[in-house]
Amino acid sequence: MVREQFQVKINSFTLNVTQTAVDAVRKKQITKTGCRVYSDGYIGISGTFGEAGEKTWLDAEKNLMKKIPYPYPPSAGKTRIRNTKKACGSQTDFLKQSEEFLARIRKDFPDFICSNKLMSVESEVSIHNDLGLDYCNSDQSIVFGLVVKHIKSINVFDTIYSFEDRDPDFESVYEDLSSQLTAFRNPMEQKINGKIPVVIGFQDISGKFIESLNGEALGRGVSIFGDKIGKKVFNDDFSLIVDRGIEPIHASFFDVEGSVLESDQTALIEKGQIRCGYADKKTADKYGMRNTAAAGGEYNSVPALSVPPLSVLPSQKTLAEILNGRDAVIAAVLSGGDFNNEGQFASPVQMAYSIRDGKLVGKLPELTISGNIYDLFGNDYFGQSGDKPFCGERYLVLNMDVNQY
């Protein structure tokens, strides 16, 4: 019998923002511990808030009787600690900096109301077992999650400003938010209809990739990529990787089964060619796939296939260089878009800005964007920016159908 402990610790200090001022403070210190017992091809699990005691282990052993199959060897004989925390100030410092940041917005942008949260978050995820596995990943970040509304607007909100970094420079964040609010003040009435470059975050258009690169879906023949493994179906410049490197914040270098990747990364799509789906131990074993460290689940759950951290490999070019003088639209806030089962995407865009020379120049009326996945990431793919021009994020540039209504 092998005993394994999986533990998640979250320590957060959150400021609630109303009318561009802090009106509430929340502190949270949560530890969740899962105890796993492996025996004769079965797994028994029990979990508890806080540290595990002997009762939690006994419950895990009892749960072996539920006969949940898990005939995969636990990860073994590896030790690694990765700490990507940067020196950050105290909670008092964070509160002070945040209040100064919000005061500056109130002064310079009295025509906007900001609400929602500013957060300081620390995370620690660890796994260790009787077989000498001992992994620990620690991280920390400051999150700006502001909902923004113009005082003359009758919308519930107009746009969302989000920014996350391990040690953000509040001045740079202010400049970034300032550029968006300044563009907002310049409404542009021009009608845009037709195909033009759209600047969009991958997470806003990733749904079909997540669904279709799922190893179980591929193995059971229910993925639209099922007959395309090994084939080049996208643009040469498009590569999609499982990214357990240090860039994705709070993403552990190991999955919940303790699986890791060489250099913490592996390509699912490389230079337009679909190489493989994402898989955990079970999916890899069942369908003869490569384990891409894609096991997930709650602290007290049986590990199961889940979406790993995904990144589009950036190009060597900045956003401005990719656009190369072309006017573009940035889809800043999408409103619930989706793909149909053939890969056709459509979405309303609640907040779009016009971009010229890589800079935001004005706010556009609401519009819709659409396109087919094979075109968007094929002939209509310009690239993923090498820089992080807005909100601390890289952006895709895709030639999309844009319509205003």
């Binding site: 949940i68 109301i113 009758i154 049986v302």
Partner: protein, 445 residues
């Protein structure tokens, strides 16, 4: 029980959650988990700022109170504060599900139940990928406040969910069947309903053709009408979006005509189901709130904080997804009320339109969006061929005026999975529903 600090408002919410998750994937047992978790949220208010702390150490609640009190500024007039004044002082026990507590049902009985649904999947060879879940949840909340509130109440649900992917014409089609009940014994014997859903999805997957994008008259099923009400107007009714916003207060003045005269939208925490909230998470007793009555803005959803700031009354809509979060203004069960036409009359008046039967997800602010999972053309008043649609969208405030038909029977829908998201707090269980609702001018893509 606790030493409440002087000159501050304090409340404590302790949640005890017992839940089961049994899951089969393609016939193989993947999960069989029974969990009992306890945690507490402590709140302190000094008249200017709230202070919250979430803890899993129930022995440290007094320490958490004391720590938060250190951060707050004592206010000798706190009991006269308008926010504190709005907080209700309810006392008593409302343990409605103690006799039928799902956590007392044996794991063997739950396994037997889920297996009785598992078998039917194999009757459909077109289903290539399937998951069958049994989920239950019995939650007891104990709320106390320094003002004198002391309430203990419970909520409960149990669900069988079948999720599957059908492969037809070389394209995958996802579908799901959801049997939601309050008591365990009520979950047995609904195999026919699951089969009906699967067969509808099979037929849809085999025959659906891409829609010609455009603007259409749509009839929304009761489920989709409920989502539409939730997304299009429910979120706009959450009063925390209006705090300190004069323009919004002018725009959303009670009594303003905001939709067609036949439109009534209601939110109520009193309806048993996934939006059942006998008391909200600051101890306010559930109420029925008309958001729109006869097309006129009639009310909005409040916490004590927003009610005080807008000089209105709390509506028991301060909710949190768990003890880890502070309550914010959220919906409970939101639905469109019935009209006078029969369903047949509603369809019969449509020459060329679209029936939206089921959905994958929805969202809405100034524009609402619903991604249908099943939709059909309406031709000469009859349901015709199935259509593949990515999304339907429309401007919320224009669309509410475009409703021109509402059928005569309301169906309320509840779910044991998913829920409503608002910023960091997802998923919150809510209910929604309505009659069949006909809307003109919907953008279909």
């Amino acid at each position: 029980m606790y030493q409440y600090p002087k000159n501050l408002y304090t409340d404590v919410r302790i949640e005890t959650v017992s839940k089961t998750n049994i899951q089969f994937e393609n016939g193989e047992l993947k999960e069989n988990k029974t969990v009992s978790e306890k945690g507490a949220m402590v709140r302190i208010y000094d008249g200017k700022r709230w202070y919250y702390s979430a803890t899993t150490d129930l022995n440290s609640i007094q320490n958490e109170i004391d720590d938060l009190a250190e951060m707050a500024v004592p206010n000798s007039a706190i009991l006269q504060d308008s926010v504190v004044d709005k907080l209700e002082i309810n006392r008593g026990m409302d343990l409605r599900y103690q006799q039928d507590d799902v956590s007392l049902i044996s794991n063997d009985q739950k396994m037997a139940l889920v297996k009785s649904y598992l078998e039917l999947i194999s009757d459909y060879p077109e289903i290539r990928n399937s998951k069958i879940f049994y989920l239950d949840n019995h939650t007891v909340k104990h709320f106390v406040s320094g003002k004198g509130a002391d309430i203990t109440f419970d909520t409960q649900n149990c669900t069988i969910v079948a999720r599957y992917t059908i492969m037809a014409n070389d394209f995958p089609q996802d579908g799901q069947a959801n049997i939601y009940k309050i008591r365990f014994h009520e979950l047995a014997g609904h195999q026919r309903e699951v089969r009906d859903e699967i067969e509808k999805d099979l037929d849809y997957a085999k025959r659906a053709v891409p829609v010609k994008p455009g603007v259409y008259t749509c009839i929304l099923s009761p489920l989709v009408a409920g989502v539409f009400a939730h997304e299009s107007f429910g979120h706009k009714s959450e009063a925390d979006f209006m705090i300190g916003d004069e323009e919004m207060r002018k725009e959303w003045v009670i009594g303003k005509k905001v939709g067609a005269s036949l439109l009534n939208i209601i939110d109520s925490g009193q309806i048993e189901g996934s939006g059942y909230v006998p008391y909200d998470d600051e101890g306010c007793r559930a109420k029925k709130t008309y958001l729109i009555k006869d097309g006129v803005l009639s009310g909005r959803l409040h916490s004590a904080y927003t009610a005080a700031l807008l000089n209105e009354n709390p509506t028991a809509n301060a909710r949190a997804i768990s003890f880890e979060y502070e309550p914010i203004v959220r919906m409970t069960t939101t639905y469109i009320d019935s009209g006078k036409q029969t369903k047949e009359e509603l369809f019969g008046e449509v020459e060329d339109g679209i029936f939206i039967d089921d959905f994958k997800h929805g969202s809405g602010m100034s524009t609402f969006t619903i991604a249908p999972s099943r939709a059909y053309r309406i031709c000469h008043g009859k349901i015709a061929e199935p259509l593949k649609i990515a999304v339907i969208t429309g401007n919320v405030m224009k669309t509410l005026h475009e409703i021109d038909g509402v059928s005569d029977a309301v169906e309320i829908k509840s779910f044991g999975t998913g829920g409503c998201g608002k910023m960091e707090q997802y998923p919150l269980r809510v209910g929604f529903g309505g009659p069949y609702v006909r809307v003109n001018g919907i953008n279909v893509q």
